[in-house]
Symmetry: C2
Subunit: 590 residues, 2 copies
């Protein structure tokens, strides 16, 4: 075989007259009375190759080739005749007159065409992932992913960060999500766990005085999967010592600016917007608001709490809220049936109903309008900044349901009504998080982020008296309504860390069994430290303008955590289990 001289997508007018050696896949063959045209594809693009009388032997061979054959072609670059130029192809002004062709490998007809425009069932794509990845848009996504990690690494290494690899075989800490376990062969009845994040190790590296650590780290969670979850995912994991929250945020903004510049050619302005958790929930009904559009939640509790409409009044009396969103100019476009459908949608988020009012030149209109006349109507119109033609949608319930239901409705309507400028990247820090979440059913506190998050110094006194009010020095970064990552300053005092475990319901024994090594490390001179972690898969998904996380992972798993390509997981030999001192208790038949 000859040495390739050019990539298929990189043969242009300036190569006219040159002999080139190309290697690639047959995208398409067309026979045209004594001439054969072949679109030859490699990862750089497509070039047209022509076989004709000038090379009868090559012509004969070319008759045998079919889609996805791997071939080598030697030929001369010629300009296409006027009228034959293909403006959709980078190489569209030329074609290659073949002198010889070698069939390197044959191909069966693939189960689907290698074409970005063809819609393919996802199961088929995953089973034949190696063909799916031949599609140019898929290659482009993985090229982008590689470019993103390159920029991140170079940025951080230029800032003095060290990339340090932390273990994949580590200790099970059954706080948080479910661990994947790995049985030990040497230590009977014992197990490693795959890490949910390198959290403890990166904190230990701060104890070691590494000061600036990062890792593009694989993490694992054995959870029931949603569309945007995978059993293994990749996290850009960063930790630093002696930096304040503002310094960490500023450094991460510069990192993101660099990624946007290098990968998207976009200048993002810094500092990014910051919003408290409370404000995000109040205005957007979400802790990861998409701020590319309005349609904000409006507080109406005060206005309606004494109204004759019992559902509103009672909700407020029970400690809940009444809020609305104003769908501008939509009054005429939403029929009763449409609104019923919206109500059903809101119901999925816990709302027991969706009340509505249409705004006319005369006032409010709709089944509940009679409860809100005169001043009440004026107050509602003012609070929602409504005009004639607007549609007001109300949820009355406890605060969390109001936020969830109206927040979800806001996103749905934002998309349906084309309120979102899809070309923009709206970054946002959500700050001032609560340190704890209180689970009413279980009657216990959970760490809103994780048990190592540092409270605000001025809130320390509340740790005993009113844990719910303690704010965390935590910050989430949100992009276009997706949580891109988050971080916090960490606890670096043993006594505070022990108090934290205690508030989370750990006995001293439990805390020491699971985190004893961390508590012990905290006795040997720990610097103040903090960090952040970004979800790389999701960041790439948003940068590539895709909506499915699986499109950013080369060999992803299905929603039941299977790999359709390799058929993992699968049964193993009994001898393997015996060596691991294990028996399967379930029926082994599939």
């Amino acid at each position: 075989m000859a040495q390739r001289t050019h990539a298929c997508g990189e043969v242009y007018e300036q190569h006219e007259g040159q002999e080139v050696v190309l290697k690639g896949w047959v995208q398409k063959r067309r026979d045209l009375g004594g001439l054969i045209f072949v679109d030859l594809r490699d990862r750089t693009g497509i070039v047209q190759v022509v076989f004709g009388d000038g090379a009868p032997e090559a012509l004969t061979v070319a008759e045998k080739i079919r889609s996805e054959f791997v071939i080598e072609v030697v030929g001369k670059v010629v300009l296409r005749q006027e009228g034959q130029v293909n403006p959709n192809l980078k190489t569209g002004k030329i074609e290659v007159m073949a002198s010889t062709i070698t069939i390197i490998n044959e191909a069966k007809t693939p189960p689907f065409a290698i074409d970005d425009k063809v819609e393919i069932a996802e199961d088929l794509r995953l089973k034949y992932r190696y063909l799916d990845l031949r599609r140019p848009a898929m290659f482009d996504t993985f090229k982008m992913r590689s470019d993103v990690t390159r920029t991140i690494r170079n940025f951080l290494q230029n800032e003095g960060f060290l990339e340090v690899e932390t273990p994949i075989l580590t200790k099970s800490t059954p706080e948080g999500a479910r661990d994947y376990l790995v049985p030990s062969r040497v230590h009977e009845g014992e197990f490693y766990a795959l890490p949910q994040s390198p959290q403890l190790f990166k904190q230990l590296l701060m104890v070691s005085g590494f000061e600036k650590y990062f890792q593009i780290a694989r993490c694992f969670r054995d959870e029931d999967l949603r569309a945007d979850r995978q059993p293994e995912f990749t996290q850009v994991d960063i930790e630093t010592s002696f930096m304040t929250m503002d310094e960490i945020i500023a450094m991460n903004e510069r990192l993101i600016q660099q990624v946007m510049r290098d990968v998207k050619g976009v200048e993002v302005e810094a500092p990014f917007q910051r919003m408290s958790y409370q404000e995000a929930m109040a205005r957007y009904g979400s802790d990861k608001p998409d701020v590319r559009f309005g349609l904000e939640l409006k507080q109406l509790s005060e206005i309606v709490k004494d109204s004759a409409f019992g559902i509103f009044a009672n909700a407020v009396k029970a400690g809940g809220e009444v809020k609305a969103i104003n769908v501008k100019g939509a009054a005429d476009n939403y029929s009763r049936k449409d609104i019923d459908a919206l109500g059903e949608f809101a119901g999925r988020y816990g709302a027991k109903g969706l009340a509505w009012l249409k705004v006319t030149a005369e006032g409010l209109n709709g089944p509940i309008a009679k409860f809100f006349e005169g001043d009440a109507a004026t107050a509602i119109i003012e609070a929602t900044e409504a005009e004639a033609g607007d549609l007001l949608l109300f949820v009355a319930d406890k605060s969390s349901v109001v936020a969830d239901a109206l927040g979800a409705l806001r996103l749905k309507l934002g998309k349906e009504l084309n309120l979102i400028d899809e070309s923009t990247f709206a970054f946002l820090w959500v700050v001032d998080w609560p340190l704890f979440e209180y689970d009413e059913e279980e009657g216990r506190y959970y760490a809103a982020h994780h048990p190592f998050t540092r409270p605000f110094d001025e809130d320390l006194a509340l740790m005993d008296s009113n844990p719910k009010e303690v704010r965390a020095q935590a910050y989430d970064i949100v992009l276009n309504g997706y949580e891109l990552g988050g971080g916090s300053l960490r606890i670096y005092e043993r006594d505070l860390q022990e108090k934290m475990f205690e508030l989370l319901g750990f006995t001293q024994e439990e805390a020491h069994a699971q985190f004893g090594f961390l508590l012990e490390a905290f006795e040997y001179g720990v610097p103040p430290h903090g960090g952040v972690a970004f979800g790389l898969d999701r960041f790439v998904m948003l940068l590539a303008g895709r909506t499915n996380l699986r499109d950013t992972i080369a060999f992803p798993k299905t929603a039941s955590a299977s790999c359709l390509l390799t058929d993992a997981p699968s049964q193993v030999a009994d001898a393997q289990l015996t060596e691991l001192h294990l028996a399967v208790t379930a029926n082994k038949e599939k």
Copy 2:
């Protein structure tokens, strides 16, 4: 707390008169009558801080600090008086006159001093790894590791390679080493396996037309550990399409040159030496020869095969060999007892004895000299290039034992006799490997590399007639006697791959159960491809001039695959096992 202005190791004469804010760990405190000197350490180095009358409050606080306290110091840079300059310290010309000090965190007395010069039991180092990593030489190693990966990634990405992440949760393929298994919760009785390498996925990416893939990939092997093995290790994994072996080798040489240039400031000449497997075994008794010194194995079978010394003659008659190494000028330095000790050492590699002769001006000397007089003596002296004063050491046995024993002896003597220039980096490609190894006991063939390695085209006919003679298009890279990595061109035809599995003793069913997806992929247009994988841990170990692989891994495991820091593996809750449909069959008590 104030914002740090300087790192401890970066305060110099030019900062004289400046106020600086430093943060770090107390390396040492010395009290000198009203003055306190503190060596303050961070990852960049050490600076001397002085507390005196000028700042009585700070002096009082400074009295409380002890080793490994974390402190913040504000002070002024002053030049040290003549005679006080410390030439061993980058910052030795200055000191910082402290005005204020803040104790950020206290520390107990650590179990060992944070000092490169102190020898510490490895168990203690691993248990307190976070303190061990505070030692400057450890930080430097991980800084180097981070720099090495940076150079590798930038080099490869500049060459058009994409970094693609492949799964950690994958399918068990019980060829090769033992897999680590991960039980599935969703699929009862089924298991994922952690990858021993991304081999199949990188080949599938070539099927996908990615053409240039790399990954710095975590790999896993559940084997009994030797000093230079870890359950998880990191591999620089590279695969390309349409490149010849020479092109792949040349590209990797440029990659290594770049690493040596960036990280060690060393220009390595290319092309690197290449040596066939046969020559390496013949001359060095090793497939990873350390070519920094001579002491080569000399073939004597022809000369001694008819001698009256039965052990030599019989070894040759039985199909074995007689070889010697010539230890130059060592005749007078090795007593009979010393040589007996060498014989015992050779015995560990299977040699039944170590014969020896000393060379004098008169001829050969020693217990077996009587068998080799006249022409025989001359022939031995010529073949071993011996002179008076040399010591000749012989092993007579089957070829593999001769190679193992004399190869090991050669390395041992090379070190003992200081024949090795430790400052050089001798890279070497070993090529022309056999495709198969034949296991006499089991009477079956094994893949010398792995089942995807491509035979030489001209040897294909031997696949049926004489598999032992088939050579592989494989290449190992050796550095200073360590196997740094290896690679090969791969099989890309389904029928050849199936034949390979057949020769390795797979039934068709077994081959399809394990590798069916690969065989199926091979039907859809596979390009010629090949690649290489380097052991990153070992490469860093050699670059850092260390001898223990664990010094290059931040949180390594012991020889029994335990983490002494986190106490992994460990027992897990019964509920976790129940969810995984598993029961431990062993006694669960520790």
